[in-house]
């Protein structure tokens, strides 16, 4: 089953005809069931055309009516991206994945306000996307480094997530779903929202949380993990060697909060895969 997306999802790309939209949608089509899951794109000025083999619709509502889309992924430029989210929400899309970076915070405050009470879930903005390896990739992450498995990965960092995933692969560990949250001040799904999903997902055995020094998102989720999580959680925090002054205080404080909450943290960024392999081994799981 995994979380958020799988082979049963039906995906449209808002901003399909742009350079990034086209390039990354083509890569998503090539990954696992992408070719059957991606069903169209949206561009009001290019309705009726096709792009990377997909039909282009004039609006999200129209695209949804014709394709039954449940997921939308957004590559629209920052000035128009919040409006694109609004359009997907109004059309009743279940999951909106916003890849666009640099959306003004003021726009996102209004968009999130509009979303109150809406059943739509938003991932991002500035999310690298979400991938359930072997099923479906919705986003910009490099597909080939992922492999199907039972580790959930949750991150607010882009390239660092790819690093962690590639280490998991080297240690022989596949992923159930890899979720990139994005790190904008105002956005959709939070660490805790996604941890809850992994906690309830029968296909996830352990979770890797990838983060960096600064901010308190990881600490907040550590407390939640301590109280509610039934599965092992490993932390991969970059910046722990930041020397002197504020940096090191933050690093140590953060690591000790995570440790107190039962989260194992890799001290060496090259160790993540091996640490998880140890913690997620079947013998260890049976102890829980």
């Amino acid at each position: 089953m995994a979380i958020l997306v799988d082979r049963h999802s039906r995906v449209i790309t808002q901003g399909l005809t742009g350079r990034a939209g086209q390039f990354h949608t083509a890569a998503c089509l090539d990954h696992a069931h992408g070719a059957q899951c991606f069903v169209g794109g949206v561009n009001p000025r290019k309705a009726g055309e096709t792009c990377v083999g997909l039909p282009v619709f004039g609006s999200v509502r129209e695209a949804r009516r014709h394709t039954g889309a449940t997921v939308s992924v957004i590559y629209v430029p920052p000035a128009f991206a919040a409006a694109a989210i609004d359009e997907a929400v109004d059309a009743g899309i279940e999951l909106v994945v916003c890849i666009t970076q640099g959306i003004p915070v003021r726009d996102m405050i209004r968009t999130r306000h509009r979303m109150q009470g809406s059943p739509t879930a938003l991932l991002g903005p500035s999310s690298p996307g979400v991938i359930t390896p072997g099923e479906l990739k919705v986003g910009i992450m490099p597909g080939p480094i992922h492999r199907p498995g039972r580790i959930g990965v949750l991150s607010s960092s882009g390239a660092l997530t790819y690093e962690a995933v590639s280490q998991l692969g080297a240690a022989g560990l596949g992923q159930s779903t890899v979720v990139g949250l994005g790190s904008d001040p105002v956005g959709g799904l939070t660490h805790i929202d996604v941890l809850k999903m992994f906690n309830d997902d029968p296909d996830t055995d352990a979770v890797l949380v990838v983060g960096e020094i600064g901010g308190d998102a990881e600490e907040q989720c550590a407390h939640w993990v301590h109280e509610h999580m039934r599965k092992p959680v490993i932390g991969f925090i970059a910046g722990v060697t930041a020397p002197a002054g504020r940096g090191s205080v933050t690093a140590n404080a953060k690591l000790s909060v995570l440790a107190q909450c039962g989260i194992r943290v890799a001290r060496h960024p090259g160790d993540v895969g091996t640490l998880l392999a140890r913690v997620a081994s079947p013998e260890c799981l049976s102890l829980d």
């Binding site: 390239a159 105002v186 960096e212 910046g239 060697t241 930041a242 940096g247 090259g270």
Partner: protein, 386 residues
């Protein structure tokens, strides 16, 4: 992006939030001219630098005569002010604000910022120095700051009934300015109630959302070339990382994509006993020309022994980075080795381009491998040198 006090006050006045009358000036004579034009018996002479804590450092002075205005202005202009917020190097005072003095009855602090948890703008206010507790309201973006909310804050601050309408107007107009101008932070410290019952901002400090400058041309025009904040270049080019004051005096130059991966790279280099020099961040929309342009100054550093390229491409494409590196390396000191770890989007093309470039490339297969090879290369180059 930060702006000066006089610019912040101009924005406030435009939105009907009261401030003392005043004008910026750049010489003692101009300061006297401004004071004469303003009239009154006392004036404030205030250094315009992008940092707080000015008054304790001598950057804010009261003048009770025109000759005092002249003296204070001459004392401040072209001196370097060091405050707790400027860092040890301080900031040179190039401009002053001269404004009418105000008779203060009560002083407060008002702050607006984006509250991540509620996903709203939070207005918080307290007496000066944090007295009387902090009163906060999370503003509904649909309605703005409501009359009742503004009145409530004003009453809690202890503003007398007669001055409530003025305080209400100030707070509501302050929020309008914040919202319409795409600010990310505003601080009015102090906001004062004068002896004649007016509510005035005696100071104003604003920060703006760099991602919204495209629709705020007036704000964008206030950016000073020397004051660009590190790490907030929204054009997607290459930026130097501001890694929270980490001294990067080493000999390994790093080109990395994304802050998280940069910090992990820093961690591994340090764990292996190396010391990084510059860190360059490859923005997601970087072109080969921009990568080359950002790399050139790094390659000119005489202490540089090795370049570590650690790119895990998603949006960013490895072949684009490779072209940039090759272009920049043409101008570098020959013989500086390049440790290259490239994975992700177009990784094979990127690696092939570099391998065929004739540059001294050392391939690496993982983060740990790349950092290890860079540390070894730097150490042996340093040995050869001695």
């Amino acid at each position: 992006m930060n702006i000066h006090e006089f610019q912040g006050k101009a924005i406030l006045r435009k939105y009907g939030a009261a401030t003392p009358r005043g004008f910026p000036c750049q010489s003692p004579d101009e300061a006297v001219e401004v004071a004469r034009r303003l009239g009154g018996k006392s004036w404030m002479v205030k250094a315009q630098i992008h940092a707080g804590g000015r008054s304790k450092a001598g950057g804010v002075k009261l003048a009770k005569s025109l000759s005092e205005v002249h003296r204070h202005a001459a004392d401040m202009l072209d001196t370097t002010l060091v405050t707790p917020h400027t860092g040890p190097a301080g900031r040179v005072v190039r401009r002053l604000l001269v404004e009418q003095g105000a008779e203060i009855r009560k002083a407060f602090q008002v702050k607006l910022m984006v509250d991540r948890r509620s996903q709203r703008v939070a207005l918080s206010a307290c007496g000066q120095g944090g007295t009387g507790g902090t009163h906060q309201v999370l503003i509904d973006p649909g309605t703005g700051l409501k009359t009742a909310e503004a009145d409530d804050i004003a009453r809690r601050l202890g503003i007398p009934e007669k001055a409530i309408p003025e305080a209400r107007d100030f707070l509501r107009n302050l929020y309008r300015a914040f919202d319409e101008r795409d600010a990310s932070r505003a601080e009015i410290d102090p906001l004062v109630l004068t002896t004649d019952g007016r509510v005035l901002a005696l100071d104003a400090s604003f920060r703006f959302d760099p991602n919204a400058l495209f629709r705020q041309p007036e704000i964008a025009a206030m950016r000073e070339s020397g004051d660009a904040d590190a790490g907030e270049l929204p054009d997607g080019g290459c930026a130097k990382f501001d890694l929270a004051g980490i001294p990067l005096y080493g000999n390994i130059g790093c080109l990395v994509n994304g802050r998280g991966l940069a910090m992990a790279t820093l961690d591994v280099i340090k764990l292996y006993g190396g010391t990084p020099a510059t860190f360059l961040d490859v923005g997601s929309r970087a072109t080969a020309a921009k990568v080359a342009q950002a790399l050139k100054p790094m390659l000119r550093n005489p202490d540089l022994q090795v370049v570590l390229v650690n790119v895990f491409g998603g949006l960013v494409r490895c072949d684009v980075i490779a072209h940039g590196v090759i272009e920049a390396a043409r101008h570098a000191r020959p013989g500086v080795p390049l440790v290259v770890r490239m994975q992700g989007t177009h990784e094979e093309l990127g690696r092939t381009l570099l391998a065929q470039s004739g540059l001294p490339v050392i391939g690496a297969i993982s983060l740990a491998d790349a950092a290890g090879k860079a540390v070894v290369a730097a150490a042996s180059a340093a040995l050869r040198r001695h």
